[in-house]
Structures are given as C-alpha cells and as structure tokens.
C-alpha cells in the first residue's frame, strides 16, 4: 500500500480545494482507509467544516480514457449539484488485482460541496467494486448512476436495480440502440438520457409557436410532422419525432436524412458510448444531428430550422406568415446536459418515457 498526495486536478478552483489524496490496495480493499482519506482531504482546507450533499453520483466506466473524457462534465455537474461523486473504473482485462483510490473535495462558500472518490480496479480487483460502492454511498440520499457503456447488458440491469436514476447518452449510439432503452423504460427503469436535454430547445420552440395568440387556433388541427437529420438519422432526431408522436397521436410522423453537413463532426462524444460531455459547442452541425423540424396543421406549416447556432421558427400558410421566433442554442459547456438531467434525482421522466416508446416505433425496420 502506498499513500501520496497526487497532483492537483485542473478545474479553476482554489488549489487547496483540489488537493488529491490517493491510496493503492494490491490485495483486497479497506473502505475505512478510503473514508479516512476522504476526511483527510476535507481537513486539507483547514477544518473539515460542513459537507453538503444532495445525492450520490456514481459514474461507471470501463477504461481510464473514457473517464478522462467525461471528467470535466462530471465535475462541473457535481459542482452545480452538491453530491458525493463515486467513479468506478473497471479494467477486468488488465493485469494484476489492484484497486487504486483517489479522493478529493471541492469547497463552495466554505462548505464541501463535492466529495470525489475514484476507484480504479484492474484484473481481479474489479470484483471489489460493487461492494465498495455500496459502502461508499452517503446513506439515505438518492443514487444517480451515470452509465458510460452500452445501454444494454447485465451490469446495466444491476445498476438500474440499485439506482434511483440511471443516466445514459443515447446520442452517442446508433439510433437503433433506443430499442434497448425503450425496453428498459417499459419495465419502469428510471432512465435519464443526455440526448433528451439536447432536444429541449426544439421542443420548447415548437411549443411556443402554438402559444402565440393568433396561432393557437391551429392546435387542434395538427396532422403531420417530419424531422430531418444531417446525413443520417440520429438518435436525437428519433427522440424528437417520438416526442411529437406521443403528444399528437393521430399525426403522421416521418424521419428523413437530409444532405450531409458541411463539416462532419461525427456524433457527439467519441461515438463509442463513453462520452457524457455532449456537443463541444452549439455549432457546427454534425452528422446525424437535427437540421429541421416541420409540423403541419393544414393549411399552416410550422418550420423550425437550424441556422448555425440559432433555431429559426417560421410559419407558412397563416395570415401572419413571418418569422415568429428565433432561439440561440445554448453554448455547450461541460456538464450542462448532465446538470439538466440531475434536476430529476429519482424516477422516470414521464415525457421521456412516452417519447422513447413512441420513437422506437418510428425507427426504420432492420433490413429495410
């Protein structure tokens, strides 16, 4: 076993707040030592003082690189929502049986608002992770798991069983993976999805169009909708279409792929299901992302199209045919989407559940 003070992690906080302590176990684990280290980390700021926690945030990855990609987002979200962050990095195929723990705290207004414990297990050490996690959770508080792997498999099912909420990012996966998500949601799994807040601007702008006084009369006459994605149909486009279909059941809803984007920035993240960082910025447009959303209430057509970082809403066929609204897409900062999803700490987002169920029915049949 070795004990050392590691390098501070960059994060724009006071250096003392980011001092990291680490410990390594080559044979078994001792949670008391990790807890003592956490206490020591709190006292590095002078005195331990108070700790504010609203929930346990657990992130599970299968490679250090995947965690590295997600780290900024996790910590930004953790600073916004005080919590104990427990990161499990499982490398079952690595050599050795060790478990390494790194702990640090962040202070906000004098109180500890983020406690962070990162456990990296290699080889046989991986078997310790699940029980270690249970011992490190703050009692009584909700457990939210950020899942950095495929939205399928036994491990995810176990995570779903123990968590009050499991947050995935279907935007980093092919849209067909939504079928697995929908199946879990149908069984009551409290799934949150970072692809969902990505489409909030589209949804709210569409809703706002029908709140405009002289356009309210068209609400009862919605007949069809289509979502156009750049280059290929992406999961967010499918979710948006599913949302509309779940709201307006009689409407005919289509998914189309439009021209390739000028600059192919691929799907958000690495496309391997490991990123939770979201888009690096609102622009440029990437392949699979939504470029336009149209819905009709004959003779009126409502169109929302993406013009770089701005959504432009237009109405055609109404007496007042004009641009009715513009909305700037929020600049993408690490942790923004996760922060939005963490507003709900337990249970299902009913609207998401209905939308994802409706969305999978719109997916092209395999082989077609």
């Amino acid at each position: 076993m070795s004990l050392s003070i590691g390098e501070p992690i960059a994060g724009g906080q006071a250096a003392r707040g980011w001092d990291e302590l680490s410990i390594r176990f080559d044979d078994g684990m001792d949670l008391n030592k990790i807890r003592a280290l956490l206490q020591e980390a709190k006292e590095l700021g002078g005195s331990a003082g108070e700790t504010v926690s609203a929930f346990n945030l657990v992130a599970i990855y299968f490679s250090p690189a995947a965690y590295d990609r997600a780290q900024a987002a996790l910590e930004a979200a953790g600073r916004l929502h005080p919590c104990r962050l427990v990161v499990l990095i499982a490398e079952p195929h690595a050599e050795g049986d060790s478990v390494a723990a790194r702990v640090s705290v962040v202070r906000s207004g004098g109180a500890v608002s983020l406690e962070r414990v990162v456990l990296t297990a290699q080889g046989g050490g991986v078997r310790h992770l699940e029980s270690a996690l249970l011992g490190l959770l703050v009692p009584d508080l909700p457990v939210v798991i950020v899942w950095g792997g495929r939205p399928e498999g036994a491990l995810l099912r176990r995570a779903v069983e123990m968590a009050d909420r499991v947050i995935i990012d279907s935007g980093t996966r092919p849209p067909e993976a939504l079928a697995d998500v929908a199946a879990m949601v149908a069984r009551g799994a409290p799934i949150g999805d970072l692809a969902w807040p990505r489409i909030f601007p589209w949804m709210s702008l569409a809703a706002e169009m029908l709140d405009v006084p002289n356009l309210r009369e068209h609400r009862g006459n919605l007949r069809s909708a289509r979502v156009i994605c750049a280059g290929a149909i992406g999961a967010e486009g499918v979710l948006l279409a599913g949302w509309f279909a779940s709201r307006v059941r009689k409407a005919r809803v289509e998914l189309l792929s439009g021209p390739e984007p000028d600059r192919d920035s691929a799907m958000p993240g690495a496309g391997d299901g490991t990123s939770i960082t979201g888009w690096p910025s609102a622009a440029p447009l990437g392949r699979g992302q939504i470029v336009a959303f149209e819905f009709t209430a004959p003779p009126v057509t409502f169109t929302i199209r993406r013009d770089k970082a701005v959504l432009v809403a237009e109405v055609r066929g109404d007496d007042d045919g004009e641009v009715v609204n513009r909305m700037r897409l929020p600049p993408e900062a690490p942790g923004r989407l996760l922060g939005l999803e963490l507003k709900l700490l337990a249970g299902q987002d009913e609207l998401y559940a209905a939308s994802v169920q409706a969305a999978v029915k719109l997916l092209p049949k395999s082989g077609s």
């Binding site: 609203a54 706002e208 006084p213």
Partner: protein, 516 residues
C-alpha cells in the same frame, strides 16, 4: 407563469410535460425613467441576464423614455457600458448583446408633452414591425410616484393601454413607494384602476424577488416538520431585522419625505412579516398567496394613538459615528437634510397578530440606516424548556434564523453536549447556506420579477388590498409620530444597533434583541 388556456381553447399538446417554463410572449418593454439609476444598475442588466439564460422571447424590444437627449445609438452605447459594469454575468457576450441591442430604442421627451407619447407610439409600432413584438406592452414606471398620474393619463390618452382579455396585453410595473400614506395609496390605486384592471398592475417590491424570501414559502410549506411548531404553542417571539450600513447616499430629498417607516417598514419588512406569519395558501397562485398575506396584515393589531405608539414603537435618527472603522456623519449633517429634521432613520416596532396561530407571540421588527452591518434576517425564537434538566440557564431556547441577505441561508441553534464526563449543554448552530448547497448563481431579484411580469404572473407582486392594508397599519403610526407635538426620534450613534429605547421595547417582555 406558463400560459393558461381560455376555457374554450384547445390546450397546447406540445406544452404538456415540458420541463422548461414557457418563455414569455413577444413583448415591448417601455422603461419610463430610462436614464436613471434603476434602469442602468438593475433593469437593463437584469434583462440582459434574462437574455443570457434564454428566458426572453426572441421577439422582444425595449424602449427607454426620459428627458435626457439621446439617439437610439447613444442609448445603446450607454446601456452597453451599464451592462458591462452592473451585469452579474461576465464577460459580456458581444453576439448576444448585439442581438439584444438591436431591439433597444430611445424616446426623449417630457412626460407631460403629448409629442413624447406620439413618438413613443410610433416607436412601438416600428418595434412591432421590426421585432415582431405583436402589440404586447409592458410599461415600467422607474420614476418618482409624482409622475404616475401623468404617465397613466398620457398612456390612456394616446391609446397605449388596452383592456385585459384582448389578444394583445398591456401591463404596468410600478415601483415603490406606492403612495406616502393610506389616503395617497388609495387615491393612486383608484387612479390606476380607472385606466387599468388589477390583473394588469404589477406593484413591485424587490424583496419578494429574492431567492431566500421565496424559499421561506418552500421551507414552511414544502416540509412537514416545521409547520407543527410554527405557532404560539412553540414560538416565544419573532424578530425581523433589516439593517443597512449605508446612510442616505445623496437621496436626502426622497428620504426626508419618506423616513424609515415608508422606506422599509411599510413594504419590505411587512412583506417578511406576511410570509412568516401567513397560513398555507390553498394553491400556489397569485391570488391564493396574496389572500393569505392580506389576512395577516388585517390581523395585526392596529398601533394608533399616543399610548399605543409609545408602548410599541421606537424611532431613532443616527448621529455621527463609525462604520467599519470609518467616520460617518450624522443624519442631520448629510447634504440637503434640514437641521432639526425629525425624519426617523431607525424603527423598532412590536406587532401583535390577533389570530389563532399567533395570539400572544410578539413580532419585533427592527430596521435602520447606519447600523453596524448590512443584513436582513428573520429569527424565530422558540419557547424555553419547560424543565431545566441540565441546570437553569444551561440550555438557551432554540432559534431558527432565516438569513435573507447576505449569505442567504437558514440556521438552527440547538443544544449539544460539550464533550466530557458531565452533562454540560452548549448552543451550537446548524447552518444551511444557499451558496454552498446550490452552486448555480441565483438570479437577481429584478430578473425574477421582470420575467414574472413578462409572463403575467402576479404572485410576487403586491395587490391593491395588500398595499392598502400595509399602509393602514403604518398610517396609524405616522399619524402619531408625525404630529406637530410628537417627540423627535431618539438619537443613536452610527455603527450601533439603534437607540437604547429599542432595547427597552423588548426588555418589557423579558427579551433581548439578537446580535446578528
């Protein structure tokens, strides 16, 4: 407030279940007093921050109106500088500012000049075309109350006020002070309501825009453990303190007319009393909340006549002293303050609320200028232990403190055993700090209130009967304290917690002021 459909209207199927509140409808906001301090320091930075957080409708514009001569471009440049200085979010997003500034207009002119309002009407029509603001108007009176009648008259005369119920809305936001006594408040209400409906009137008290003040409702009515003890059976008394370090800061003309009773007690402090003492509303909507607040004001035992005022009110005026180590002048040495002025800069008041819940529980209010520090808090002092198990005086009564500003939060003081063999209790504090628990920056009070006004949500604005009930209470005190034969306010040294007589007010009940 999210848009509420008319009874015969199809509900918006796309609105259902959306997590984000609806953005306000397109609108043009007209600021009267556009070159003034309030507009520069608070209103425009608040609007800019609403744009940053994507809470403003894209179809939005602002028209500034005042006597100062500016072009649209000069006004935009002037406001860019103000936003740079006073915005809570920095650095300024220049792209966003350009979008926002493209909707800024300026109309110079006197309020009693018809030409000003003809130009205003023309500018609003131009904004409707250029920014699709759709004829919706929010008029903000950031001007002295003496201008309200002429503004309302001119708006009416030039057809700028539309009745409620039309597809285009007209609303007016009125800054305090709303009147200077009950009679003038009633007259002002009458005049406002001759031209508008109560649903169109937003009387602003920026204290209600503060997060902690709103949290008081959540704390009381969103938890089960506090309400059962929030009454005369458990509470000994309540202390509400609203203290300022500052003096009158060059506002002598206003302050000589107002004094502490009009400046703080009638509005901010009584609002805190209402939120502390009110019953749970039947719903969280504007009228249900305000109904309960009005009931509190009506239940407060009037303080009228020389004897009642002498028993329950202490007024003070600061003399020269020191604040944070610096010498400061006395009130009467301030610029433009009359020698021998009897304007009170401090008030301590005992209120009794004649209700089932609060009978026999005094509410002590204290507010003043040039006190040792700037702070506002509500302290609920619970009753003493029925039996002193650990020795007389060993355990202080529990206190729950709601800190409104600064360091917004809630603290509970309770007894804990000092480590050791003997049972020796000591009072300790369990402290919840907003800033630590919610790292997201709180919006400024004006951001919240402007957004509510744009959305048409009146919950955090005061209603006609609420204003009048508050004035009725304060009027009773003013009639005695402003009578020609009334004694002058007690002097207190700047940097102290007010005159000694304020201590005597509590001492009569065997109590003392908290030292915040």
């Amino acid at each position: 407030m999210p848009y509420t459909p008319e009874h015969d209207e199809v509900p918006n199927p796309l609105r259902h279940g959306l997590r984000a509140d609806s953005a306000p409808e397109p609108c043009a906001l007209v600021v009267f007093g556009a070159s003034g301090d309030l507009a520069h320091r608070k209103l425009i930075p608040a609007l800019y921050n609403l744009a940053v957080s994507a809470h403003l409708p894209a179809a939005f514009g602002v028209v500034g109106v005042s006597k100062s001569e500016y072009t649209h471009e000069q006004y935009q440049a002037d406001l860019r500088e103000a936003v740079g200085r006073f915005s809570r979010t920095k650095p300024i997003d220049e792209d966003l500012w350009r979008d926002f500034a493209a909707g800024l207009r300026y109309v110079p002119g006197a309020f009693d000049d018809d030409a000003t309002f003809l130009r205003l009407a023309g500018t609003l029509e131009e904004l409707d075309r250029a920014r699709a603001t759709r004829g919706n108007r929010l008029f903000y009176f950031a001007t002295p109350p003496s201008t309200f009648p002429v503004l309302l008259r001119q708006l009416q005369k030039h057809g700028l006020i539309r009745p409620p119920g039309e597809s285009r809305f007209t609303r007016v936001v009125i800054e305090k002070p709303f009147g200077r006594d009950l009679a003038s408040a009633r007259a002002l209400n009458r005049m406002v309501l001759e031209t508008m409906d109560e649903r169109q009137v937003f009387r602003i008290d920026h204290y209600l825009g503060k997060e902690t003040v709103q949290n008081l409702l959540v704390f009381r009515f969103g938890n089960t453990i506090f309400e059962p003890i929030w009454n005369r059976n458990y509470v000994d008394h309540v202390q509400i303190t609203a203290a300022e370090e500052l003096g009158i800061e060059g506002r002598a003309r206003y302050y000589e007319e107002a004094g502490i009773l009009r400046d703080m007690i009638q509005n901010h402090v009584l609002q805190l009393v209402c939120l502390t003492a009110m019953e749970a509303p039947v719903a969280f909507d504007a009228d249900a909340v305000r109904d309960e607040k009005v009931k509190v004001l009506r239940a407060i035992s009037p303080i009228e006549g020389v004897d009642a005022v002498a028993q329950r009110v202490v007024l003070g005026q600061y003399t020269a002293g020191q604040i944070a180590g610096n010498d400061v002048p006395g009130y009467q040495e301030e610029k433009e303050v009359a020698k021998g002025s009897r304007t009170p800069t401090f008030a301590a008041i005992q209120l009794n609320i004649d209700s089932w819940r609060w009978d026999g529980v005094p509410f002590y209010l204290r507010s003043g200028k040039r006190l040792p520090k700037r702070m506002t808090e509500i302290a609920i002092q619970f009753r003493k232990l029925p039996h002193a198990l650990f020795g007389e005086g060993a355990a202080a009564p529990n206190t729950l403190i709601v800190r409104v500003q600064p360091e917004e939060g809630i603290a509970l003081r309770f007894s804990a055993k000092v480590p050791g063999e003997r049972y020796r209790p000591r009072t300790v504090s369990m402290d919840f700090r907003y800033g630590a628990a919610f790292a997201a920056a709180s919006p400024e009070a004006y951001e919240r209130l402007l957004l509510d006004a744009l959305r048409g949500d009146q919950t955090l604005f005061t209603r006609k009967d609420e204003v009048e009930a508050a004035w009725k209470l304060v009027d009773g005190i003013l009639k005695t304290t402003e009578a020609p034969d009334a004694p002058p306010p007690y002097p207190y040294e700047a940097g102290t917690w007010g005159p000694r007589e304020a201590d005597a007010l509590l001492a009569r009940g065997g109590r003392t002021w908290r030292r915040p």
